[in-house]
């Protein structure tokens, strides 16, 4: 048995329970709260050692609430960085020194911090960033828009996308459990759509707050993070990698592959702790298939019900909970027998559409329609999704005035 599993109480005096008990078995009570407050509730039960913060709308409140947890004794270290660039570096330091660490940011903050994310991944730090997506410049906007996820796809971090505050709560806790598996051990970026989730209230079911995850055990890390004898520290130290020769190229490439392979190895754990990489919703026979994540998926679900009940059109949703690892197999399965795939998104580039097209290339003839797409803070009422489907099917649009 691991040493940490024998610990009965954590620093805050909470009873340490198994992840399975905390996530699935503990009795839960209903609360009514915002996404930001839910971050606090999750961190409170996650035996977090360190958090570093920098304000940016819409995540400042969540960062503030984690500070309250520190004041209440639930978080070991709480530090204020001087920019997101320093925050993500300081957080890396916290992890390298053996702590479980979490932070939050949004939009321009994510981009400011960017150089750190591949470093986190390459250093195999199981950090967690809760990303409350907002638009990025220019023009300046603070509105919801998840374009920034597109920039993060290839950083070597896992990326999960929560649909609701409830799911955000569960993902933060499950996130540490999956990210810290010795054969995974890569960072996790837990995304929600800013404002839609961070600033609205919903009913969430929470386990008691006197129980918490087992503390992080840095000794089960696949690499001693600040040991220069082992990769990647060793790679950095040894002069051979600093040279331009075949060994240096191969060393770098193999490590890049290893980071991506580590993300792939997270799949069984995600199946266990998130109950799958995807969620299916609607008519299993649905010939209209929406592939979506986050708030876009929530809107697609509403549109699906309208299509089924008001229009007599069989529709369903494949909601992706994870974007890295990408549920390619699940998507391939889901498109079988489908007439049209629609991918609604809250950004201009259609990063999810791009990803889906990529995995389906040469595997299906089903038309993939990357719409509706809204951006810059616009909302996506289910009516416009329904309208889009009716238009493509050549049906009369009576739903929307």
């Amino acid at each position: 048995m691991q040493k940490t599993q024998q610990i009965k109480y954590n620093r805050a005096g909470q009873k340490v329970v198994s992840p399975e008990y905390l996530l699935f078995e503990a009795p839960r009570q209903k609360q009514f709260m915002t996404g930001s407050e839910v971050v606090k509730e999750a961190v409170k039960r996650a035996s977090v050692d360190a958090s570093v913060s920098y304000p940016i709308t819409p995540q400042s409140e969540a960062a503030h609430l984690i500070g309250e947890l520190w004041a209440e004794g639930y978080v070991g270290v709480y530090f204020r960085g001087e920019s997101e660039f320093s925050v993500m570096s300081q957080l890396a330091g916290c992890s390298m020194a053996g702590g479980r660490a979490i932070t939050t940011t949004s939009g321009p903050g994510t981009l400011r911090a960017m150089e750190n994310f591949p470093m986190w991944a390459g250093s195999r730090l199981p950090l967690q960033l809760v990303l409350m997506a907002r638009g990025v410049n220019s023009p300046l906007t603070i509105q919801p828009d998840n374009l920034e996820v597109s920039f993060l796809l290839d950083t070597g971090c896992m990326i999960w996308h929560a649909e609701t505050a409830q799911e955000l709560f569960d993902m933060i806790l499950a996130g540490f459990v999956v990210a810290e598996q010795p054969d995974v051990h890569v960072p996790l970026i837990t995304v929600i759509d800013g404002f839609f989730i961070s600033h609205t209230r919903e009913a969430v079911m929470l386990p008691p707050d006197d129980i918490a995850l087992p503390p992080y055990n840095p000794y089960i890390s696949p690499i001693p993070p600040i040991d220069m004898e082992m990769p990647p520290g060793r790679f950095l130290r040894d002069p051979f990698v600093m040279k331009s020769n075949y060994t240096s190229y191969a060393t770098h490439a193999s490590w890049q592959f290893e980071v991506r392979a580590a993300i792939e190895r997270s799949r069984p754990y995600i199946r266990k702790y998130l109950k799958g990489l995807v969620e299916e919703f609607g008519d299993p026979e649905g010939e209209i298939l929406f592939i979506a994540s986050g708030t876009a998926a929530a809107q697609a679900k509403e549109a699906t019900q309208m299509l089924i009940h008001d229009e007599g059109i069989k529709a369903r949703v494949l909601r992706l909970k994870t974007v890295r690892p990408f549920p390619a197999k699940e998507i391939e399965e889901a498109v079988k027998g489908v007439k049209y795939v629609f991918i609604p998104e809250f950004n201009v580039v259609g990063w999810l559409e791009r990803e889906v097209r990529n995995v389906l290339y040469g595997k299906t003839n089903v038309p993939i329609i990357g719409s509706p797409k809204v951006a810059g803070g616009m909302t996506m009422p289910p009516e416009i999704i329904v309208e889009e489907v009716l238009r493509i099917l050549g049906k009369e649009v009576k739903h929307v005035p």
Partner: protein, 306 residues
Amino acid sequence: MAHFQQLEVQLKPADYRSDIEPTWCPGCGDFSVVAACTKAFSELKLPPENIVQVSGIGCSSRAPLFMKSYSVHTLHGRALPVAVGIKLANPNLTVIVQTGDGDLFSIGSGHNPHAARRNIDLTVICMDNQIYGLTKNQVSPTSREGLYGSLTPYGTIDKPLNPIATMLAYGATFVAQTYSGNPKHMTEVIKQAIVHRGFSFVNVLSPCPTFNRVDTFKYYKSRTKDINKELGHDPTDYSKALELAFHDLDHYYDPNAPVPIGIFFKKETETYHDRVNAVKARYKAVDKPTPELIQSFVDACKPKAI
């Protein structure tokens, strides 16, 4: 002739105001900065089309929106490097950075030493409210110890950064401090900062009545002391300037210490562009190369016939 362009006919300060109404809270210190800037522009007869005001992100960084000049609202912390780029490309422009204590001394602080030590001819106006206003109350690097902010539950335990001493140490050739409650002083200081050839830094104590309940107009009112007029400080003396700067924040710890305002340091010395021009002169550079000159370069690069 001034080294910047001037109008023949003076415009009124109001002519430098844009038609955008400020979105600042009532009583915000930053209103005075717009008033002082437009007055300074008017008195210096600056052509509005020759002024470029560059800002980052923050309440203070909105200042250029409310004035009639060219302006750029850049990224949080990046006003200075964008301004440097503008000045490099067109040295004839009067380039002014409008920024905040967070924008300039927290996320953007990495740019300050380099713009200052190179003595690039810019004017940096920092609206120092010792707080992050726009993001609703977090402490900044200039916040006094103990100040409460939403990300510092027990108040900040960090020592504040001293903007005047910092910029002096970095090599700024004009360093001053002024105060939003003294518009006359502020206008005079901003005028001198713009006229100064070289890197000018003006720290404006500009209270945020909404979030900073400690460093208020009321607090400053009886404490500001004009270092030039009242203390007879000679701004050409760099060591005296530094010495005085070291006491800039004494009032945080000593209720009897004054809040110094005035020009700490001012020295006209060669600017970045002067040095570039010296290099050009050394290598006999011309601004408009002739086809013959270009051909001579091409010929010089051709391999010599063996």
